[in-house]
């Protein structure tokens, strides 16, 4: 019989998970921004939202992360590594688009050279997603062959039941099963049916758009300039994106001692690709926006067989000039025969 996690048992779950050494994390609103943050009790969660402002990405790939500490002595250089913080974590209330976003980046951080900063966190984190029953005008998971109740990247998928009393539990991975085994006695058997997932209309035909992107003739189409002419070149779309993974490596300190860090970086910035000689392969904003779209829907899928977009819609939702992936792909759709 299906199991239900009742909302009033959530505090007991948190307590149970914490007592076995987990940090419990979920959507929290603080200083007028919602993001995945550690909680002590269930009342801190803000679950009744379409999705948090900041994506889940930072839990695995923080905005800034120290990787090395250096100290330079007369005839030696001491390099000390920073390891990612170890410790089990349970992310409760992740959105399916966020969970799939993380899974999309796994092959990138793992091909040939494994980025342990990513994988140590991945291995120690259980993602408990809640299927969306609400969506807004910017949600577009269904256009990416995903859905408000996709299980990609989730270890557990919860489906809300009527009246907000709790969630129907669907175990996806062994990691999720283990995490929920520890709270098995807090679950109830039930025959209640879940609230149907949110209706997210399909915004564009991805396959057709990808065909257009793959055609080399379209690379220099006037379309790119026209679609991005109002882009102001900030990085908010890339920084809010659950799948954008680009980063910079920066030293802080002097030539005697300091810290080397990995910081988020963005293909929106002109400096991102600028050679020291001054030559810049992507010297215009339209070339940079084209790169972002091409990378997400042409290059990355060609390499890893995954679309580099989970349809969360944050890029469009937050864009200061109301641009975004949806508009671009919709406009491409209009160019199709």
């Amino acid at each position: 019989m299906p199991k239900i996690l009742s909302a009033d048992k959530l505090d007991n779950c948190i307590e149970r998970w914490k007592s076995s050494g987990n940090t419990v994390i979920g959507p929290v609103r603080k200083s007028n921004i919602s993001a995945y943050r550690p909680v002590e009790k269930a009342s801190e969660f803000e679950l009744d939202i379409v999705l948090p402002d900041l994506s889940i990405k930072e839990l695995f790939f923080p905005q800034t992360e120290p990787i090395l500490k250096y100290a330079i002595r007369k005839q030696a250089i001491d390099t000390t590594e920073f390891l990612p913080p170890s410790g089990k974590r349970i992310v409760f209330g992740a959105r399916p688009c966020d969970a799939s976003g993380v899974a999309i980046d796994d092959p990138l951080f793992g091909w040939d050279y494994r980025d342990e900063y990513w994988f140590q966190r991945r291995n120690e984190t259980v993602i408990v997603s809640i299927a969306c029953v609400k969506a807004d005008d910017f949600c577009m998971c269904t256009s990416l062959n995903l859905a408000p109740d996709s299980t990609m990247g989730s270890d557990i998928l919860l489906r809300p039941i009527n009246g907000g009393k709790g969630w129907l539990v669907e175990e996806i991975t062994d990691r999720g099963r283990d995490a929920f085994a520890s709270i098995a006695d807090l679950l109830q058997e039930s025959t209640e049916s879940p609230v149907p997932p949110a209706a997210v209309p399909e915004k564009f035909n991805l396959e057709a758009c990808v065909e257009w992107l793959k055609n080399p003739e379209n690379f220099e189409s006037r379309f790119w300039k026209e679609i991005s002419v109002r882009c102001i070149g900030c990085a908010s779309c890339t920084y809010l994106c659950p799948t954008c993974h680009c980063f910079d490596i920066q030293d802080e300190g002097d030539t005697y001692s300091g810290i080397r860090r990995k910081n988020w970086d963005s293909c929106s910035f002109a400096l991102f690709t600028m050679h020291t000689s001054g030559h810049n392969p992507r010297s215009t904003q339209s070339a940079r926006w084209r790169q972002r779209i091409m990378h997400k829907f042409n290059y990355f899928p060609g390499k890893f067989s995954l679309n580099k977009c989970s349809g969360c819609g944050r890029c469009s939702r937050q864009c200061p000039v109301d641009m975004g992936i949806t508009e671009t792909l919709q406009e491409i759709s209009k160019l199709l025969p």
Partner: protein
């Protein structure tokens, strides 16, 4: 005739007779309450222009886009009063030639908007002076009142909290018409003036330096505040700087096209309270 139709007609006329090569205005956005910038370069497209009280963004920043004005042709732009002040500053700082800018001015009037008389920055001189005589700085913003009552320590922790959210996406800079530097100080690495990391220190450095660079230059259009994806109330910092500039130097940013930058000019009667 609504102001929207009136301005569409004018745009059509200017584009048809070649007086301007481009009209920078607003059009409908993703949702009914959104407006987005639009670039109209042919008379047939003027019906895309939308003008109502939801048109808030200051579009003047687009005018200093690299090489837009280098062919000496004119560009028309929809501007609120703050935008007109931005043009004055950009002209005063030699970033554009105001003769190339045709202004479609408008201002909020209750729940709607009304047209402003004039087509170029010079014609708005008196209007801008009248703005300076009635600075709307006293708009009662509850957060401002709260901040003013705080002790320095409390205020510091307030900003520490806010800046801790900064993700260094530089949307504030990119959205700001006054941030036109070809190479921003944060992008200079010889030496590295500002820490690029988005941690508390780096975030403080960035936001404080930016506030100083805007002191006496910010027209409080709110572009930065609206662009910030993590909702840092940047308007509060800039508003405070505007108040300081006014109280210390009787300076109202963007008063005229010949106004000297307040922090780069000296008058004998400047207050020197910071020198003991």
């Amino acid at each position: 005739m609504s102001i929207e139709v009136q301005y569409r007609n004018r745009a059509k006329e200017l584009l048809s007779n070649g007086e301007v090569k481009l009209v920078v205005g607003y059009t409908g956005g993703t949702t009914p309450e959104r407006r987005r910038p639009v670039f109209i370069s042919s008379a047939e497209q003027v019906d895309r222009l939308v003008l109502d009280d939801l048109c808030i963004a200051n579009l003047s920043g687009y005018l200093v886009t690299e090489s837009l004005l280098s062919d000496e042709k004119s560009v028309a732009v929809f501007l609120r009063p703050e935008g007109i002040r931005s043009i004055n500053i950009l002209a005063a700082e030699n970033q554009l030639n105001p003769d190339q800018i045709v202004i479609f001015g408008f201002e909020p009037a209750g729940n709607t908007i009304k047209a402003l008389d004039g087509t170029n920055a010079l014609e708005f001189s008196e209007f801008v002076v009248s703005l300076s005589e009635n600075p709307s700085v006293s708009d009662s913003d509850p957060v401002i009142e709260k901040l003013e009552k705080m002790s320095a320590q409390e205020r510091f922790s307030f900003w520490q909290d806010e800046f801790s959210k900064c993700i260094k996406c530089y949307a504030c800079r990119q959205a700001c018409p006054m941030c036109y530097c070809r190479r921003c100080i944060v992008d200079c690495n010889q030496p590295q003036w500002i820490n690029t990391s988005p941690h508390t220190l780096g975030n403080f450095e960035w936001n404080i330096i930016r506030a100083f660079h805007l002191a006496g230059r910010c027209v409080e259009c709110g572009n930065c505040d609206r662009a910030c994806p993590v909702n840092i109330p940047l308007r509060l910092i800039n508003r405070r700087m505007a108040v300081e500039a006014r109280e210390s130097f009787d300076h109202f940013a963007g008063l005229s096209m010949t106004q000297e930058p307040v922090l780069a000019s000296f008058k004998k009667d400047d207050s020197e309270t910071f020198i003991l």
